[in-house]
């Protein structure tokens, strides 16, 4: 595949341009699903199981159906399409005979008003036989634990492949499967026992990160309507309209051509809106009532019954020699996936075993089912948790050896071409450059002085650094570029624009074709009109769709020049596009306007075809992207509160197509990372019920908790990305937990290995010292 390298005018790339939808967003004009109100709209509510594991003995919905204003009540008995053994969470539209997590939908209501729908839920009588629930993943792994899956349900590895594009080598001696262990993996190299025996320093810790919610401000929302020909239209808040269409088609057992998914402005997804969740049941209610039905999750439902990030438990043992040589690494990783399989085991192994050069490693991973809501991706799935473990460990090893921890990381960092745990080579990546830049930062340089200034009326002061990265997602995609009769360009993709990628795509198209950016319009089409497009996820939008748009623009340019060559009786290679005209190089008077070419392509009886550039590439080459973060903190020794004075993110983006947008991604990812580090956790009681189903107790960071977030862009071009760009979205969520833990260690001497790093944990650790 071709990439833009050097000679083309790169005006338009590397320029900070605000998103064109800014004015609509700041005036409240942008429409989200909950803002769409068609005539005859009905409102949906779902009745959810209060029990984590229960047999459904009976459901009596008669009183609910009789309530005036109620238009439909559905239970599993009303939906013959439902598969008895739901292979994925989306297929478990309504529980059939067993509820497998507290919050699982059991019945659905559509009514004239939301209040009537709520009252109808009260009138549905469900008899449950409460069963023992598997709540703790370590307990759930043991033989004899209450089984979660219906027998015969396969492990679902589709998410792993969508995100990491890392295929794990199958190993014959994977850990023995217990009833709730749905995936296992095992990689090893060398002899770890020998390595540990020869080590001078061995450090072993267990790191624990609870389930967290992606935290998007707009809850899941969907509007469904069938027309008289049996066509279903879904207005969805989704990160991937084609994925939604496929899942809904599969769940309902209808052809994809019968479904149109219109991706409405998405109020945040971060991986939580990739898989179908509310669409099937809403479609079924719309079909049952013959009216448009809208379902918007409440925040409580999102927290109780969304698709969070998995709980991750990593036992990590590392050995080094006194001279700093890495000797051996052993790890057991447990990923709690909830009631349905869907985690990404491979990512943990790659970053544990091959971010740094371990000559010997033995890494086992298990995915464990529990009676909790099943998980989905969350911005760099499993990477923040994994880096929390390996980076905390590297920091402790450096301290034990008495060496500079940034240098220790740099010394052992894998380089491009060296093998990952699956023996594939690391692609070009900028981890060394990022680490170098971070180590040069004045805040890192001044860490000794900062620490020494603690006490004496100030709290305990410390600085922490961490490095992490993401392999970069891949997904085939398509794009078209049309020349309009007035010489402007129309670009069509199916890409949901969450991160401001549309402006970057416009910059790419404009530069690749040869016009000003304001002559380019990017349209995000629905699934009926757009080329098949992948998810807005995996840090791959610019990396893949950007390439498709670039190639389509190049194709359109080629067609344009060929037409012009005929008009001007010149050779294509003598032509260039300048200021809206195709001219012969060196002869500015010999030219034709783009508009004239565009008009001829739409003229009655014209022999000139319309210019339609298209591209539909698939990709094989990943572009790993790394970020380092530095935290300067002050700890109140009495209360354990951490004041974050400064926070820096250094990130390799390959090429910043639009630095303004890139900074926004870095800052947003940083705050999600800090939330995971300091305040966020989904907390469950012993019966598997969520104890903090509100934003009061599920704590996301506010503006008052944070300083200004400094961003430093590093550019190590990727071989295959458009203009060398790499994916930007995921790296910044990765390093903060380790950076904060390292900073707390620096300030207090306490090493904490369980997130979030709350004031209570810090205060009690200080008391225990």
């Amino acid at each position: 595949m071709s990439t833009m390298k050097t000679t083309r005018d790169v005006r338009g790339i590397g320029i900070s341009i605000p998103r064109p939808d800014g004015p609509e967003k700041v005036t409240g004009r942008v429409q989200y699903v909950a803002d769409i109100k068609p005539k005859g709209l009905l409102h949906a509510k779902l009745l959810r199981s209060p029990h984590a594991h229960a047999r459904i003995v009976s459901i009596d919905a008669s009183k609910a159906r009789a309530l005036p204003g109620v238009r439909a009540v559905l239970t599993a008995a009303d939906i013959p399409e439902l598969k008895r053994k739901a292979p994925t969470r989306a297929h478990a539209v309504l529980a059939i005979d067993r509820a497998v997590f507290a919050g699982q939908p059991v019945a659905a209501v559509a009514a004239d008003e939301p209040s009537i729908a709520e009252e109808a839920l009260d009138l549905i009588e469900v008899r449950y036989e409460v069963l023992k629930a598997a709540v703790d993943p370590l307990e759930s792994m043991k033989p004899g634990a209450p089984p979660v899956a219906d027998t015969g349900t396969e492990a679902d590895t589709s998410e792993a492949l969508a995100h990491s594009a890392v295929a794990m080598a199958k190993s014959d001696d994977a850990p023995a499967k217990a009833v709730n262990v749905s995936q296992t993996a095992h990689v090893k190299r060398g002899e770890v026992a020998k390595g540990f025996a020869e080590s001078d320093v061995v450090i072993e810790n267990t790191y624990r990160v609870p389930m967290v919610h992606q935290g998007y401000l707009e809850p899941h929302a969907v509007l469904a309507e069938w027309d008289s020909t049996g066509q279903l239209t879904l207005w969805a808040s989704t990160q991937g309209s084609f994925n939604t269409r496929s899942e809904v088609a599969d769940v309902l057992g209808i052809e994809e051509n019968r479904i149109k998914v219109i991706p409405v402005e998405c109020g945040g997804g971060f991986g939580g809106k990739i898989r179908a969740l509310c669409e099937p049941i809403t479609a079924l209610l719309a079909r049952a009532t013959g009216r448009p039905v809208r379902y918007v999750m409440t925040r409580r439902e999102e927290l109780e019954a969304g698709m969070p990030a998995p709980q991750v438990i990593i036992r990590l043992k590392t050995g080094v020699k006194r001279d700093g040589t890495l000797m051996a690494l052993e790890a057991e990783t447990v990923l709690e996936t909830g009631a349905f399989s869907g985690t990404v085991l491979a990512v943990a192994a790659v970053f544990l075993g091959s971010l740094y050069r371990w000559p010997a490693f033995d890494i086992k991973g298990s995915e464990v089912l529990t009676h909790k809501p099943s998980v989905a991706a969350y911005r760099a799935p499993v990477a923040p948790q994994t880096i929390f473990a390996i980076d905390s460990q590297m920091e402790q090893l450096a301290r034990a050896l008495g060496v500079d921890s940034a240098e220790f990381r740099a010394r052992h960092l894998s380089r491009p071409g060296e093998p990952m745990v699956n023996n594939q080579p690391w692609a070009s990546m900028g981890a060394p450059e990022v680490l170098q830049k971070a180590a040069e930062h004045p805040i890192w340089r001044a860490r000794a002085e900062w620490k020494a200034s603690g006490g004496n009326g100030h709290g305990l002061r410390g600085t922490g650094l961490s490095l992490g990265g993401w392999l970069g997602g891949l997904q085939p995609t398509g794009a078209t570029v049309r020349l309009n009769p007035d010489g402007t360009l129309a670009v069509l993709t199916g890409q949901v624009d969450i991160a401001g990628t549309n402006i970057a795509l416009a910059q790419i198209a404009a530069t690749a074709y040869g016009v000003d950016i304001d002559k380019v319009k990017i349209t995000t089409g629905d699934t009926d009109v757009a080329p098949v497009t992948g998810l807005s996820a995996g840090s791959k939008t610019i990396y893949t769709v950007g390439v498709a748009v670039m190639q389509a623009a190049q194709d359109a340019r080629k067609q344009t020049l060929e037409i012009a060559a005929g008009e001007l009786e010149a050779a294509v290679h003598d032509l260039e596009i300048v200021d809206g005209r195709v001219v012969v190089r060196g002869m500015p008077d010999r030219g034709v306007t783009l508009a004239s070419i565009g008009k001829k392509g739409n003229l009655y009886m014209s022999k000139i075809p319309p210019v339609l550039g298209s591209a539909h590439p698939a990709f094989t080459q990943q572009a790993p992207a790394f970020a380092a973060q530095i935290a300067r903190i002050e700890v109140d020794p009495d209360t354990g509160e951490v004041k974050l004075h400064d926070f820096v993110t250094v990130q390799d983006v390959g090429k910043a197509i639009n630095p303004l947008a890139v900074e926004g991604q870095m800052q947003g990812g940083a705050v999600q990372s800090l939330g995971m580090a300091m305040t966020e956790a989904l907390m469950y009681d012993d019966s598997g019920r969520l104890t903090n189903p509100s934003l009061l107790d599920y704590r996301k960071l506010t503006a008052a908790d944070l300083p200004n977030l400094e961003t430093i862009i590093v550019e190590v071009p990727s071989p295959a990305g458009p203009f060398g760009a790499r994916g930007v979205g995921e790296p910044p969520i990765i390093p903060a937990p380790a950076a904060i833990a390292n900073a707390i260690h620096d300030a207090t001497g306490c090493r904490l290995t369980e997130l979030p790093l709350t004031p209570e944990r810090i205060a009690l650790a200080l008391i225990a010292r």
């Binding site: 605000p18 409240g28 209040s115 998007y216 401000l217 707009e218 303004l660 940083a670 503006a703």
Partner: protein, 161 residues
């Protein structure tokens, strides 16, 4: 349960609208008056996406019953400025690349407008506390603070003329 007449002022216009007594001000604005700028992010006053001004003060409209607004003046994001005549805050947000997914933005702008109405030269801390009731998951707040700071200067200079 009969509907009741809610008489109040919305974005400087007097309004009489029939509302159910059990709906919130947020619901009435969105569903009965078509003002979908204020959003529901949580329904419990914990996210700020529903922020509107009640007699000039920022409030969580998801926690008010619609009828409690009777006789009062409400301003939503639609009443802050329009495309082509943006408020300095809106203009600064656009130029500095603040909005990403955009869902929190109407609430943040209303909270920020209240900060500027109160303080001519807000410090970074004033601004951070002024929007601390508005959760944002996309931006990390840094560009918001810069934009609000910039807009404060524009507003002050404009008032000085």
């Amino acid at each position: 349960m009969a509907k009741q007449i809610l008489s109040f002022t919305v974005n400087d216009e007097p309004v009489d609208v029939l509302v159910q007594p059990y709906v919130t001000l947020l619901d009435a604005l969105r569903e009965d008056l078509g003002l979908t700028g204020p959003k529901e992010g949580c329904g419990t006053g914990d996210c700020g996406a529903c922020t509107v001004h009640l007699d000039g003060k920022p409030v969580a409209s998801c926690l008010m019953l619609a009828m409690q607004a009777r006789g009062h003046a409400v301003r939503t994001i639609e009443g802050l400025g329009a495309i082509g005549a943006l408020h300095p805050l809106q203009d600064a947000f656009v130029r500095l690349g603040v909005p990403q997914c955009g869902f929190c933005i109407p609430g943040v702008l209303m909270a920020a407008a209240a900060v500027l109405a109160e303080t001519k030269h807000p410090t970074e801390e004033d601004i951070r506390y002024g929007i601390a009731g508005n959760l944002c998951r996309c931006t990390g707040y840094t560009k918001m603070i810069a934009a609000i700071s910039e807009a404060a200067e524009v507003v002050t200079q404009g008032a000085a003329r």
